[in-house]
């Protein structure tokens, strides 16, 4: 079964073609990683799939349903979950309340005005389970702004799981982390059940090859390669374009 199908997707910003004619599909349960140099259009692609942006042309199907013009919150109700490249949490609210907000998001109780949010015992139990899994339960009463960067990253991914999504979109979940912290995130993703389809954008090579069953390479808004990790590694165009730029980036950081 296809979890996601993208057909001829293009997005222009003024005269800039951020994405041109991108097509691919993701099988249910698959772990697909999208790589590509900065500015390749990876985040734009995520914004189209999750509904933050509307495509200039092309269609998006989610489990067979055309969702091209469906609002973001409806896509979440349908079964998408998303984490953000720049951390997007609620900094002046405690860790537990961040988690409870996320848990209420796909339940009717999100409109409930006269019951305390702490009265939902089954949601508190889920929150405890989720936070324990990422070693944040002890810090549940801390404000999110008081957490360390690595902890915020873990919470960022955890919140996107609260809706029990069928398709999880992770936009550079290990961005800015040390390699040890990044390995935690890799384990977290590997431990997800096969009922969750994962679409991941990443730069971190350990994360990419630790998770990927299939890799798509984006370059200047176009798909230039699509295959298993082995095929991608062997692809001469990927080596030339991707590794070439990687080398330049390395030089830039060194200088």
């Amino acid at each position: 079964m296809e979890a996601l199908r993208v057909e001829g997707l293009s997005k222009d910003f003024g005269g800039v073609h951020a994405l041109s004619d991108v097509s691919f599909s993701v099988k249910a349960g698959e772990r697909l990683v999208i790589i590509g140099p900065n500015g390749a259009g990876k985040t734009t692609l995520f914004n189209l799939i999750n509904g933050q942006l509307r495509p200039t042309s092309g269609r998006i199907y989610f489990f067979g349903q055309d969702i091209t013009t469906v609002a973001t919150h409806r896509r979440t109700q349908l079964g998408q979950g998303r984490s953000f490249q720049t951390i997007s949490l609620f900094p002046n609210i405690t860790v537990i309340d961040n988690t409870l907000i996320a848990l209420h998001g796909t339940k009717r109780s999100r409109f409930q005005m006269f019951r305390s949010t702490k009265e939902y015992k089954h949601l508190l139990a889920s929150a405890r389970e989720m936070l324990t899994a990422v070693a944040l339960w002890e810090k549940r009463d801390d404000l999110v702004q008081a957490l360390g960067y690595g902890e915020q990253r873990r919470l960022e991914v955890t919140l996107s799981l609260a809706s029990e999504p069928k398709l999880l979109l992770l936009d550079e979940p290990s961005s800015g982390l040390t390699s040890a912290e990044s390995a935690d995130i890799t384990d977290m993703i590997r431990n997800l059940g096969k009922d969750i389809t994962v679409l991941l954008v990443a730069h971190d090579i350990d994360l990419v090859f630790g998770v990927a069953e299939r890799i798509i390479v984006l370059h200047y808004g176009q798909v230039i390669a699509d295959g298993t990790p082995g095929e991608i590694e062997a692809d001469p165009r990927v080596k030339e374009i991707y590794m070439g730029i990687e080398e330049n980036e390395g030089n830039a950081t060194a200088s």
Binding site: H73, T76, G105, T106, R110, S116
Partner: protein
Amino acid sequence: MGIARLKETIKQPWREQLIRFAPYIVGGVILILLPAVLPLYLRSIWTKFVIFAIFAMSYDLIYGYTGLLSLGHAAYFGAGGYAAAVLMFHYGIDLLWIGVPFGILIAALTAAAFGPIALRVSGMYFLLITFALGQLLYSIAWNVKWLSKPGMQGIAGLSRPELGIPGFSWSTISFYYFVLVIFLICFFLIYRITNSPFGYALRGIREAEPRMRSLGYNTWLHKYIVYIISGAFAGLAGILFVYYNNMIVPAHLAVGTSFLPMVMVIIGGSGTLLGPVIGSLVVIFVEYFASLFTPERWPLILGAIFVIAIMYARGGISIHLSRLWKRISYRYGSIKS
């Protein structure tokens, strides 16, 4: 030491609860007893403070909790007030049980009509549109003859509402307790709303609206609902103000009146329950004392307080008071255990 103290508080949760709720109990006792012993004129000012506390709490729902900075909240305060005033003036209906629900309904309907216009935008543009909508109602009240008593702008000479109880007549203290009961009901309702999943969703919208959408919230709908609720509470404050003041003028719909809850919430502490109440207390009483000495310089003094509050009491007076209280209760707790 720390662990021993923790165990102590777990063993005696009632004392922890007492310390936690002590400020509310003290505040409640002051609200109930103090006005009974105040001189008549100060009692009237105290009543005005409680009415404006409701107005400021309603504003805090959209500004403090949801993060929408409005400069047109008087539109709903005035709409509720005008509705109650027109009902008395044109139709002779001065029964409280009709005037209050009708005024709240009109204020909520006004907010329901203005909401979709204002909520198309956010930030500074939201401020400007709410400001424009408030001024629109102001100019309607100024120009439509039906909304004024002949020979003046506005409706004056109204009476206190009828309760429908034979032989009952208002005194300043019974009117105060009536206002206080309504205030306590509003306080309780807003307490419940802000601690509910809906209330936390509002905080989420304030902190990171795009994330809220990705979590499944239709953030527009949440903002629209709270805008109407907030308008209804503001309308209730406007109705009480008409009953208190026995008159209403177009300026009660305009930017000068919209500015008051904004200043109260920022001075007192936004996104808190007590902040708007403390802000209202400070603004109304400073206004009173300023008017005794230099009536024409009141806006200057208000501006100065506003600047001082922003510079030296970031987050509002209530935040600093609650920090002080935590320090005191911590020390008190450790001595006892």
